[in-house]
Amino acid sequence: MTATLPLRVEVNGRSYEHDVEPRRTLADFLREDLGLKGTHVSCEHGFCGNCNVLLDGEAVRSCLMFAIQAQGRSVETVESLTSPGGELSELQQAFTEHHALQCGFCTPAMLLTAKEFLRDNAGETDERAIREAISGVICRCTGYQQIVEAIQSVAARP
């Protein structure tokens, strides 16, 4: 059996070349091989969404993809949200203003999923639409309300 395969992938705007075992999940590749610990695994079977990353701008479950499948693609993780100077993004700032995180474990996934929603639904403040957008990410701490409020506040800005 071939031990590893060469992978070339862009993560957070930077190009990486690594040899990976085919079975290495994208989540584990990001966390262990690239040291980007912000992507979290919680259930590892695709139900909780805490592992969501953006693949070519679209949220997907990184625990259900093999790293090798990201060949030639571009991935964004939570680490990409802060500016090069280290400042929090508008969305991250809204999360702290509205207390949209408690333990923080689902937060990276929530941020990325919300980022996609805000980009594709500019100005959409409808509560149900926002809840629908994050329905695939489980938060056990907040009960979602303050997360929704944080996203609404960003959507409402001109």
Binding site: K37, S42, G104, R140
Partner: protein, 814 residues
């Protein structure tokens, strides 16, 4: 201690004048100081940590709920490249001691099952390998021969003569059985004009945080020190017990706290996983990380919630006055009893709820079965007894044809009755229950929804309103673990919290905490706000660090909604000492009396002449560098540590007719929920949900709301979705998220929340704990709302979860 002997105010080493002058930082919704690192994905949870040379462990879980381990063949696993070591019960037997437990023995739990497994998913072997993938490959290669034993799953069958024994040494599956009588219960029932009785069922669920239990062990043979990184919620309270399991001196165990992605009780006294990691590291000769995967967490986490069968009665009068409660409870604890029957102690702290009642009888049967054991889940048993009580209250209301709000109102403890002594001996420190009730009726727009419900009903729609009240006890005392026994072996009465506060030579404040307390509550923000309040500095300038167990002062950690109160007391205590010293230095340098000084704007200034001041930086520098400028009897440095003990707890009486004061800081809340039921499919929609909570002085309204909403939604999960499902062989059928359902953003209501503040006379700043409250109410609210919606069908909700199938069944039976 009698009510009369209670202190008028607890000993708090903080500036009382500050409390009266008005809050500057407490009560503000400051952004959490914890947030930035979590927002950036730099939370440093246990699985984010790597040590050089670290190996990874995985376990083999038992497929049987009860079986003797006949033989384990590890040879194929050992031969797999990348495997460091394979570990079985034989290694545990040779090198480790059993895990700690507050339950009366012999109910022995080991790190890995030694002779037999007692529940589905219990560990029978572990593999240490270069990475987790290989460890799991090797686990697949371990061959275990089992001799299945008869399984006991039903707690009633488990009590019967001849039932298979979970613990042969114990000789019975009834781990504990006793009846407590407070007051004149039989007389009260005989005299009361009416009573209602119900059999009620609350099944097993679990806290289920997104981050499972995990630890990294490391052993240094040179020093003999075992270091364990763990996301357990406590360690100073019991790390010496972990050391005993590892057979090392407690002084050679260093537990390092790690941020946790949630707990809700499941990381409370989390002893097995940290001990396991330490044990594996000692055997492997290199650091070992063990993090539960989701299935392991569900079936093997030692932290299921209560699993109860109640037969309960409420005696009352024609005018709705409650007289007495008689409660019989069978609680299925599973295969072990780590907290003894503490979850019933919890219930007994507020067994009469917010109602005036003098007579309570409580019969408890704690039974062992072949299931993953109980631990802690938000409420720790009091959420269950509250649901039971509110069900009886609703039944009484129906029996009398009385309005459900009115019957409660008539029985509420009144403000002049505090501190209120409940029949068990525990007190409620303060309250204004009527105020909360009036507020929730207003905030919920109750009259409007009553009219809406009536209109909908006339149209054939099934809209229902549920109203429930709950007290919310906070800050537990350890007596609740042992007052069950007349002659307990071990009688801890300490449940302190500590803090160290240091002001450095540049005037910056660093606070060190002595528990692992970061799991989604906001300890650093609480600490920062308390420090800010004490010193008038910007909360975000305060640095919070955590001591490891070798450097730790006594601490108990979060649990029982105790942490905000206790850490505030510890921080206020340390702050008070440092402020005293600062005043001495400043009064010496400014040549004024200490009484003329106040803390303002990051320094100390003369009251009335703010230009005469010294900054904390100036004082700090002087304290560290200029000893000869200080008063002669003042030493160098500017730091203090404070251990804050439970401010109000007493021991139970010998005859246990008085359990003492063990949970005295009691908040109060009401929720009102409006649902619409689709009786053809059983699905619910939420039309409105309002909550008013009184948790004493509020530290941070925004984070308090977060706790309320989060707890309420977990209660919703309990009420509608969550339950361990077993097959007849004791295997957990919903051992992953396909079928163990956690509410998503689309499954839950949006809440309207308001607050009331009735401070405690006994706690720092009058704060009461609030973390568990939401979950204490939703099951009662939804039970009542669904009953109300299905009023045409005469439905009685007596068991949870209330499933769509059950609703359709009810609606079909008319």
């Amino acid at each position: 201690m009698t009510i009369e002997q209670l202190p008028a105010a607890a000993r708090i080493a903080s500036d009382t004048a500050l409390k009266e002058a008005g809050r500057r930082w407490l009560g503000k919704s400051v952004n959490r100081v914890e947030d930035p690192r979590f927002l950036r994905g730099e939370g440093r949870y246990i699985d984010d940590i790597s040590l050089p040379g670290m190996a990874h462990a995985a376990i083999v879980r038992s497929p049987h709920a009860h079986a003797r381990i006949v033989r384990i063949d590890t040879s194929k696993a050992e031969a797999l490249p990348g495997v460091v070591k394979v570990v079985t019960g034989a290694d545990v037997k040779a090198h480790a001691a059993p895990l700690p437990s507050f339950g009366a023995g012999p109910i022995i739990q080991d790190l890995i099952a030694i002779e037999k497994v007692r529940h589905y998913g219990e560990a029978v072997a572990a593999v240490i390998a270069e990475d987790r993938y290989v460890a799991e490959d090797a686990c697949d290669l371990i061959e275990v021969e089992y001799e299945p034993l008869p399984v006991v799953l039903d707690p009633f069958e488990a009590q019967a003569e001849g039932a298979p024994l979970v613990h042969e040494l114990l000789g019975t599956n009834v781990a504990y059985e006793r009846t407590f009588t407070f007051g004149e219960v039989d007389e009260a029932f005989a005299e009361a004009s009416r009573k209602v009785q119900a059999k009620l069922r609350w099944p097993r669920s679990t806290g289920m945080p997104m981050d499972t239990n995990g630890a990294i062990g490391e052993y240094d043979p040179g020093t003999g020190v075992v270091t364990i990184y763990a996301n357990s919620m406590n360690f100073t309270y019991f790390h010496w017990l972990i050391a005993a399991s590892l057979k090392i001196p407690a002084s050679k165990l260093k537990v390092i706290p790690v941020a946790a992605g949630g707990s809700f009780g499941s990381k409370f006294f989390m002893h097995k996983v940290p001990t396991f990691a330490g044990f594996l590291a000692m055997l492997a000769g290199r650091p070992v990380k063990y993090v539960e995967d989701r299935i392991t967490h569900i079936v093997n986490n030692d932290h299921c919630g209560s699993d109860r069968w109640y037969d309960a009665e409420l005696a009352f009068e024609e005018d709705g006055t409650f007289r007495a409660l008689r409660i019989d409870c069978v609680d299925d604890y599973g295969a072990y009893l780590q907290f003894g029957t503490g979850t019933h102690g919890n219930g007994l702290s507020q067994i009469v709820g917010p109602y005036q009642m003098k007579h309570v009888q409580y019969s408890l049967h704690a039974v062992l079965t072949n299931k993953n054991q109980q631990g802690a889940y938000r409420g720790f048993g009091a959420e269950v007894s509250n649901w039971m009580l509110e069900r009886l209250v609703d039944m009484a209301a129906r029996d009398l044809g009385m309005d459900r709000v009115e019957i409660r109102r008539r029985n509420l403890i009144t403000p002049d009755q505090f501190p209120y002594r409940t029949p068990t001996g525990n007190i409620y420190d303060s309250g204004n229950y009527q105020g909360v009730l009036e507020k929730v009726l207003e905030v919920a727009d109750y009259e409007h929804w009553v009219a809406e419900r009536d209109k909908a009903r006339a149209e054939g729609r099934h809209v229902g309103i549920g109203v429930a009240a709950s007290n919310e006890r906070s800050v537990f005392s350890s007596t609740e673990f042992w007052f069950w026994f007349d002659k307990p072996e071990f009688t801890p009465t300490a449940s302190p919290e500590s803090a160290s506060l240091q002001i450095d030579p540049t005037g910056q404040i660093v606070v060190t905490l002595h528990s692992q307390c970061l799991w989604g509550n906001s300890p650093e923000t609480v600490v920062s706000q308390v420090v800010a309040e004490e010193f008038d500095v910007d909360p975000s300038s305060v640095v919070v660090t955590y001591a490891d167990s070798q450097h730790a002062l006594p601490g108990t950690g979060p649990g029982g909604s105790r942490f905000t109160v206790m850490v505030s007391g510890a921080v206020a205590g340390a702050a008070g000492e440092v402020k005293e010293k600062i005043k001495r230095i400043a009064s010496h340098k400014l040549e004024v009396s200490g009484d003329d000084l106040e803390f303002r704007d990051g320094g100390v200034s003369v009251i009335g002449s703010p230009e005469r001041k010294l900054s904390l930086a100036e004082i700090g520098l002087a304290a560290y560098m200029f000893r000869l400028d200080l008063p002669a009897d003042v030493d160098s440095g500017l730091a203090a540590q404070s251990t804050y003990d439970h401010p109000l707890t007493t021991v139970p009486s010998d005859d246990r007719s008085d359990l003492g004061i063990f949970y005295p800081f009691v908040g109060h809340a009401w929720h009102i929920g409006v649902v619409e039921v689709d009786v053809e499919t059983g699905k619910l929609s939420f039309l409105h949900y309002a909550a008013v909570h009184d948790a004493g002085t509020i530290v941070n309204p925004k984070t308090l709301d977060g706790q309320i909403i989060g707890g309420t939604i977990q209660g919703l999960g309990t009420a509608l979705y969550e339950e361990y499902l077993y097959d007849d062989k004791g295997r957990v059928r919903n051992e992953n998220f396909e079928y163990y359902h956690l509410p998503s953003a689309m499954d839950v209501p949006t809440m309207t929340i308001a607050h009331q503040e009735t401070p405690s006379p006994y706690t720092p700043y009058g704060i009461k704990g609030a973390g568990e409250g939401g979950r204490m109410l939703t099951p009662a609210v939804l039970s009542a709302a669904i009953e109300d919606a299905l009023e045409p069908y005469g439905v009685r909700v007596t068991s949870l979860p209330i499933t769509a199938e059950q609703i359709v069944e009810w609606a079909s039976s008319r």
